[in-house]
């Protein structure tokens, strides 16, 4: 197979790559939403794909000197090289439908989009900046949860970011949480679930505990569709599930409604 072609992991159909790209990385055959990078997300969301990156000078530190099969410091370097990003989140400012907004987009390719000190700090700075400049905030989550290699420091980022959102709320500034595949663990248990609106892409895995852990605990097969966007919508955890094709238009409408801009 030449690299002009690819197989959809969901429907197994062989597809022409350009067709997927033209379709915003959604399978034209089965509507499966492929994972996007943080920069692709930002490019799709902002007007004409134009935005300014913020808080780029913050770098992770291997404070615990964590070492499993590999040193954490080494993992960080490799992931920085691979993604050409400093960490698992990118902060940006720009216009969405003409409305100025602050956006944090998570990068799954960087250590599974895990949240350590830097992700927590950058998300918090995005929220605090929005408080000062009186702008709405959007966070596009894509994460396996808290970063184990930073131990309890990662856990504390749940509180740090949630407390910042409490302030944003007191300032009466809107926060739209966009949950994409996958959003699990500590990210779900903090900002991802705290949106004024919680919006998810179709068939995204969203939950707190991972499905394998649950299966091992209860020793039963999980029901079909468990922890998928549509499951969460049905159980009242999401405002809506919105396909990628309509996402930008939906966000613009939502911002206009929340900001009372007819």
């Amino acid at each position: 197979m030449t690299n002009l072609w690819t197989r959809c992991n969901n429907c197994q159909k062989i597809l022409y790559k350009q067709d997927i790209l033209d379709n915003q990385h959604v399978c034209p055959a089965c509507n499966f939403h492929f994972r996007l990078s943080a920069l692709e997300r930002l490019g799709m969301l902002f007007d004409e794909g134009k935005y300014t990156r913020l808080d780029e000078g913050i770098f992770p530190v291997d404070v615990l000197r964590f070492e499993d099969s590999q040193k954490y410091s080494q993992r960080l370097q490799e992931n920085q090289k691979k993604t050409e990003l400093t960490e698992a989140v990118v902060n940006a400012r720009g216009k969405i439908g003409g409305i100025e907004a602050i956006v944090s987009a998570m990068e799954f390719a960087f250590l599974g989009g895990s949240m350590g000190s830097v992700v927590g700090e950058k998300v918090t700075r995005a929220i605090e900046r929005a408080c000062v400049e009186r702008l709405p905030v959007l966070i596009i989550s894509c994460s396996g949860g808290a970063r184990m290699q930073e131990g309890a420091l990662s856990l504390m980022q749940l509180m740090k970011t949630s407390a910042a959102l409490a302030r944003l709320g007191q300032e009466r500034l809107p926060f739209i949480s966009i949950l994409t595949d996958p959003t699990t663990g500590g990210v779900t248990a903090s900002y991802a679930m705290l949106g004024d609106l919680n919006i998810a892409e179709p068939n995204a895995l969203i939950g707190f505990a991972g499905p394998r852990v649950i299966e091992q605990t209860i020793k039963e097969k999980l029901p079909k569709g468990f922890q998928q966007s549509e499951f969460l919508l049905k159980h009242g955890m999401l405002d809506d599930v919105v396909g990628r094709k309509n996402l930008r238009a939906y966000i613009i409408k939502a911002l206009r409604l929340l900001l009372n801009r007819y």
Partner: protein, 318 residues
């Protein structure tokens, strides 16, 4: 790496001494006070030999010790007229978290804590202290009640973690935890947290944040259980000891990292060897913390609470 010794083996001699103390205590033997004091000194000596070599895994075993005092043991001993309040007013009552009001030092306070259960039956009933979403929501309900009437909130943390069950996900445990964090950030009464045993990730954090976070000397607090971490990062259950060391889960590590404010000393042998001394130690620290917090204007309290967590995290900046 050679396999570490189980803490339960290490403490054998101490438990024998402890048994002698307990027997003496209920006896009519003449001079029992002196004899008990002698035995206590012996425990202290034994312990001094054990403590410096305790591994992270052994600390985990102390924190999970089946005889370790649980939330209700503390409440029974430190709180007058403790009145348990049940239910989240939404779905159910979660017995893995107890919450209620009681008099502490002559004033009403709200108490919230994980409860593991002592007998097999009670353990199952309380889901081994692993909360469902209703537990966090009940905790928040009681915190809001405390806020309404101006009572301080004291929480005791002792959980392996949030329960990984189908129902817990269906009823939004992530949302329940997140919402507690957000709401506690602006709760207009003092909040004191004590990690008394296991500080298991999100299930602990959901009631584990406030103005002063204290931790018993041999409790542990972690982003993931050492077992879970070993399975994910090492893909090997025999790597639990390595995971435990790497995660830096001990009270002294967490104090250094700025995650907790204070370590509450445990009696020689651990909290389970001497309940009386443990309660006294915890009581002293809670009352001192509350006294300081209650003098602060609420707006200052909230600013400081925000800054406390705002500062957490280590990174470099260029």
């Amino acid at each position: 790496m050679k396999k570490e010794e189980d803490f339960y083996k290490l403490e054998k001699d101490i438990l024998l001494l402890k048994k002698q103390i307990d027997d003496l205590d209920v006896s009519e033997e003449p001079g029992k006070k002196e004899k008990i004091a002698g035995l206590r000194a012996q425990i202290e000596k034994e312990w001094a030999g054990v403590v410096p070599h305790l591994t992270a895994t052994q600390i985990v075993q102390i924190a999970r010790h089946p005889q370790r005092p649980y939330t209700l043991d503390y409440l029974t001993n430190l709180v007058e007229d403790f009145t348990e309040l049940h239910g989240d007013r939404r779905f159910a009552d979660d017995p893995a978290i107890v919450a209620g009001l009681g008099f502490y030092k002559g004033k009403t306070a709200a108490f919230i804590g994980h409860q593991k259960g002592r007998s097999t039956r009670e353990r199952i009933e309380r889901n081994f202290g692993q909360p469902n979403p209703e537990g966090y929501r009940k905790a928040l309900r009681v915190m809001k009640l405390a806020e309404k009437f101006g009572f301080p909130v004291i929480t005791l943390i002792d959980t392996p973690g949030a329960y990984p069950g189908i129902g817990a996900e269906e009823r939004g445990q992530a949302e329940a935890i997140a919402n507690n964090l957000k709401e506690i950030a602006t709760l207009r009464v003092p909040v004191v947290n004590v990690i008394i045993g296991e500080g298991g990730s999100g299930g602990a954090l959901a009631i584990g944040v406030g103005d002063v976070v204290m931790m018993l000397e041999y409790a542990f607090y972690s982003v993931i259980s050492p077992e879970g971490c070993a399975a994910i990062l090492w893909k090997d259950q025999s790597a639990v000891a390595k995971a435990a060391e790497n995660l830096k889960i001990r009270a002294k590590d967490l104090l250094e990292l700025g995650i907790i404010d204070k370590i509450i000393p445990e009696p020689p042998g651990g909290a389970h060897i001497d309940y009386g001394q443990t309660f006294k130690s915890v009581d002293k620290h809670i009352s001192q913390a509350l006294k300081k917090l209650e003098q602060k204007p609420v707006d200052d309290l909230l600013k400081e609470r925000y800054q406390k967590f705002r500062k957490m995290g280590v990174f470099s900046e260029k």
